[in-house]
Point group: C2
Chain length 304, copies 2
Amino acid sequence: LFVRVLGSAAGGGFPQWNCGCANCSGLRAGRIAATARTQESVAVSADGDSWFLLNASPEIRQQIEGFAGLHPKSQRHTPIAGVILTSGDLDHCLGLLSLRESQSLVVYATERVRRGFAEDNGFYRTLERFPGQVTWRRLLLSEPLPLSDAKGQKSGLTLTPFSVPGKAPLHDSDRSDDPEHSVGLRIESEPGAVLAYLSGVAGPSSAVDALVRGADAVFFDGTFWASDELIALGIGTRSAEDMAHWRIGGAGGSLEYLRGLSARRRVFIHINNTNPMLRDDSAERKQVQAAGVEVGYDGMEFQL
Amino acid sequence: LFVRVLGSAAGGGFPQWNCGCANCSGLRAGRIAATARTQESVAVSADGDSWFLLNASPEIRQQIEGFAGLHPKSQRHTPIAGVILTSGDLDHCLGLLSLRESQSLVVYATERVRRGFAEDNGFYRTLERFPGQVTWRRLLLSEPLPLSDAKGQKSGLTLTPFSVPGKAPLHDSDRSDDPEHSVGLRIESEPGAVLAYLSGVAGPSSAVDALVRGADAVFFDGTFWASDELIALGIGTRSAEDMAHWRIGGAGGSLEYLRGLSARRRVFIHINNTNPMLRDDSAERKQVQAAGVEVGYDGMEFQL
């Protein structure tokens, strides 16, 4: 199972366009030890030829060009066999609208996420220019599904989506609770490697436990270090929990949870620009490292 | 009048994600003399502090980070005083959805373009999170309008939009002709410098003549060199004209038209990845240069 991080930041990226916090302004001025990050997306492949994207970030064009594995091999071609959406958040799905130019696409999503994208946006017609341009494949909660490309060619990967604690996207007209709004992914390759992908997790749950159990690698929501991170900086009024993100630090934080897992690779992803662990020399980064956990970065690669 | 090109390519950029044409594959492999380009957008300013973006490309985050003039000057801030949309094409407006994070925005557009964006897309609710998040200012054809920021602070720039030959965006539900679908811009600074901005022009018209008359600088649709450019490469079935772009080359092409203008700077922009003038050493590039015309590139800057 080949894994390549295309983007590791939360919505807005790092730095964020309208943010002059110590991290963002420090990075721009070269005053801090940190690395820019684009918005969250990961590419996975069983064979290194045909890839599935976990989420489609607004920066997808730059992310594709930045990774040779995703470059076309003929005049009209893409090695992207499919895209899997974990939620309808803009930072997870806006990039689909950049995958046009008459290319067939396969998109895996829950019915709730499909409806929010395809039935609520006129822009979607750009992906309906010929019959079969997009093939939606429905994610049913807790049901394993073999991943295949537009022609039905098997990938050697099986995906099982689990509903994880989360909430509806901010732009959603329907703000009611729905277990289909936010999923975590368990991806297994035929030799038996297991990747757990949970880039948005509001807090602990039995589904989260089931997702990470026995996984070789875990990507986990790394949005905020502290509950009051934005409030303390004076740039927000809501806590991490209000925004459906499990804080990393302190007792009961996700770092404590990840420390207890047996996975060989435990990697924070979807990291907000304000998070102190983005600084390579921060106390928070040292805590993460001491727990055997990694801070994801664009271009990170590994094999399971 | 300060001018900075943020992106110079047509929709899809150069290289394009699913294109392996000689230009795109040559650029990726370093086999041709050419430079990558993001999708079309230009920043203009009367004072170098407060900027207006002409179009909001999908790559707007990367474009903002790439130009220090657009970086925030305090913890929550943007020097972007407003965005002007010349059409509802996705490569011209998708980037607006990346300008969220609770920042007030001013957007100038025709009523037709505003409706296509704001009334036909659920995603737009991300820009309606607080009252007054987006202030739309209506472009009325051929009527001069002073540009100002969200607080009404005058910019020292006056904009006059003209309807130019074009067509409805591909995703538009209403495919009927409407002079508001596609506009060219004439931007004047108080000392009297004039910039004409025509990044999409289907062919000659009296409005095009009026736009460029007496302008100090002209940006002009540089999408296709030849009418049959995509057809000859086997990657498309439609001519440049079918796609509402005035071809550059040959008798009656836009290069001939631009050669006859007195503007000090005449710059092609919105250049498709297949265009042979993208190669620094091509015969087509030499023709452009011989006519006193320039091929726009990301990062190009000048003052009028």
